[in-house]
Every structure is written in structure tokens, then in C-alpha cells.
Amino acid sequence: MLSDFEYVVPDNIADMCDVLKQYGAEARVLAGGTDLLVQMKRKGVQLGYLVTGRSLGLNYITDGPQGLRIGAFVTLSEIERSGLVRQKYPIILDAVMKMASPQVRNLATIGGNLCNAAPSADLAPPLLALDAEVTVFSQSGERRLQLEDFFLGPGLTALTNGEILSEIRVPQLPPTWGGAYLKQQRTAEDIAIVGVAASMLISHNGCASNVRIALGAVGPTPVRAVKAEAFLEGQLINEEKFKRAGEIAREECTPIDDVRASAMYRKRVVEVLTKRALKEAASRSLALSS
């Protein structure tokens, strides 16, 4: 069962960083606990200290000139209920609705999903497609980095000892931006075998710009399919081009064989889901410009 640990409830983010720095590898942040508790129960993770962020006030979802800002401790259910996200950033909702179950979503947080850094993390591809940034807090203050630079490997992030992810930021989107996230999973509550997020702007002459394609569960980290993006950039869009983009994206991922699927199957699914996600993104963008 669980090891004998102590809990710490810092009053503010600076105190939290001090605590994490002080206890090092013996301490972990407890957000929703839906990954951490499972790791403690099933994967032998033993900790001396659980540090909770409930008093930090990092549970806001706001929109403004700087774009969307989501506090790291916002739960997936709070995102699900956010009219703001539903209206302006539906690609995030696509992902949240496919995650786990209501019971888990009522506890799990966006910060936890990103910091757990599973290659299959469902929030990663949509946020990558949105050019998201993360804010990291430490004793030396704040730093910001692109989400692309945040994931370093399976379960590994750019957070160093004493640092905490405090906020996720998404730049303001043009009103006719369209994006979609599609997930291949075996059953309900399953993690992604493949996750694909696609987004774009379509101009009045039918050309795509700011094309983004992000892939999850098909590499050590979530990745952008930059060659497939470049292929579509500035192009007049059609089904054929989306199909070709899918073929290119297929070669930009490095999946492994595991219990859920073979690498070969995953590559094939990347090809198909990329095409479909692009189609859906285009359709959403066009719906907004008409």
C-alpha cells in the first residue's frame, strides 16, 4: 500500500518551491492524484512528502489580450464546463472529453497531465497545435517555455528540482481558426494508442495557413509533424492534400510496439487520423468564416 508520508500545504507558490527544493526527490506535488496515487499503489513510487497545491489559487481559466490562461491546478471537469474553452478553444474540449472518466476528470488537473508527461497525454497534442506556452515558477522567479520544449522523454519534463508548472498559456487565436483532436483508443477510459491534433486558418481564397499537426503516443514525447505542416502551408486545401499530409506525418513519428498496439498499426492510424483531423479542423475553420 502507500508508504508513510507527510503532507505539506504551502500557502503560496514561493513556499511550495522552497519545500520542493528542500526535499528534492522525496517530495512530489499532489494535484488530482489520479496519476500519482496509482504510481504509489502500483508502481512502487515511495515518497516522504506530498505537497499539495490547493491553496495556491492556480485554478483560474481566463481570457484576455494575452490569450487563454489556465492555472495548473484547474481540473479537467472545470475545463469541460468552461464556456470560454468550448467556444474559443474547442480542440481542448475534444481532448478532455476523451480522457479517463467523469470520476477521474473531477480530480485530475491539466498541470498534472502535462507534468506526468506520458507520451500519450491527451492534452499535449491540442496544446502543441495551439502554440501553447507554460509558465514555470521557482525560487529564482518565473520562466516561460514553449510546450514543445517542455517534454523531454517518457515521464520527463524540463522542470528541475524546486520548480513547478504554474500556468498554461495559449496565444489569442484569429476568430476563423479551426482545430480538432482525434484519439484512437481500445475502449472507454483507455489512454491513446494514437492522438492527433490538427489546426489551421483558411483564408478567403481557400489556402491554409498556420497549419499545425501534433501527434501523441507515437514517440517518446508528443511531437509536431513539421514536414506534414510545411507541405500544407499556404496550399489550397483539398482531400487529396490532407491524405498526402497524413502519409508524410506517418513517417514523422517513432512509435513502439506495446500492449495496446504495434508500431506498424500506430503509423497507419497516424496517417488516417491526421487526414481526418485536418478535415475536421478545416471544416471548423470554414464554418467560422461563413
Binding site: 500500500m1 471537469s77 470520476q103
Partner: protein, 161 residues
């Protein structure tokens, strides 16, 4: 390490001291003798440990008891009013929506939370919302039927059957 917590369980205010490493599920079962919530998978997948926290279903096997400090918890034991079953419980009985009954408390609480938030839920929405409640006996079709019959009785829903 022990912590003093205060929470409401089935309408009753409770204060107690808990070890930091105990889950809400353990406390409900062992301290309050509420055995309706069970530990089956222990990993937040099966839903047998489902309880309502401030009206929302949560996996109590993953929630440390001290994280529930200040919360209002509802378990299956709190649904009936004396001998009078809650309409959802009544519907489960009438429709035969369980076999061994192991998953049933979780199913009923999830259904209650759904209907409290969205009484007009479609069949698709019912299925989506209850995806976190697994049943090895295969009671799913009857569960959906029971939920719809509650909707019909409440005058809402998308039509029984």
C-alpha cells in the same frame, strides 16, 4: 502523520483524525462502516469506489482522506430516506439493473449525479457519463433502461425504451 479533518457524510457532520496515507474510500468503509463503495481496481478505472464529492462523482480510492477536508460526501447509504428508496434505486430494482450488485452503488451515484446536472441526458450522454462504471455481470442495458425510466417519471428524458 495524522491530520484532523472535518467533512459532511450523508448530511452528517463528521470530525476525525486520519493518517495522511489513508484514502477516502478506506475512511468511509473502515471508520464510518459505509461498505457500499468498494475497492476493486484501486486505480480509478472501475468506478466501484465512486462516491459523490460536492455532488460530483469521484474515485475515492485515489482521493486521500485529508484532501476531502471540508467536502460534502454522499454515499449510497445516504440515498434512501428510511425505508423509502430514492427514485433511482427504485428504478434499478424495478428494471433488474444489477446481478451481483457489486458495481451498483457506483452506478446509482453516477446516475444520480448525471440526472442532477442534466435531467434531459440522451442515451449517448448517459453512456458517456457512466463510462467510468464497469460491470462484470453485464447489467449495462438494464442500467440505461433504469436511468431512462427515472427520466420518464420525472417528466424529462428522451423517451423510455
Amino acid at each position: 502523520m495524522r491530520i484532523k479533518i472535518a467533512l459532511k457524510v450523508n448530511g452528517q457532520q463528521k470530525s476525525l483524525e486520519v493518517d495522511a496515507d489513508r484514502t477516502l474510500l478506506e475512511v468511509l468503509r473502515e471508520d464510518f462502516r459505509y461498505h457500499g463503495a468498494r475497492e476493486a481496481c484501486g486505480a480509478g478505472v472501475c468506478g466501484a469506489c465512486t462516491v459523490l464529492l460536492n455532488g460530483k462523482p469521484v474515485s475515492s480510492c485515489l482521493l486521500l482522506a485529508w484532501m476531502a477536508d471540508g467536502a460534502e460526501i454522499e454515499t449510497i447509504e445516504g440515498l434512501a430516506q428510511g425505508e423509502k428508496l430514492h427514485p433511482i434505486q427504485q428504478a434499478f430494482v424495478e428494471e433488474g439493473a444489477f446481478q451481483c450488485g457489486f458495481c451498483t452503488p457506483g452506478m446509482i451515484l453516477a446516475a444520480k449525479s448525471l440526472l442532477d446536472q442534466n435531467p434531459e441526458a440522451t442515451e449517448e450522454q448517459i453512456k458517456d457519463y457512466m463510462e467510468g462504471n464497469l460491470c462484470r455481470c453485464g447489467s449495462y442495458p438494464k442500467v440505461i433502461k433504469a436511468v431512462k425510466s427515472v427520466q420518464a417519471k420525472m417528466g424529462g428524458g428522451q423517451g423510455a425504451k
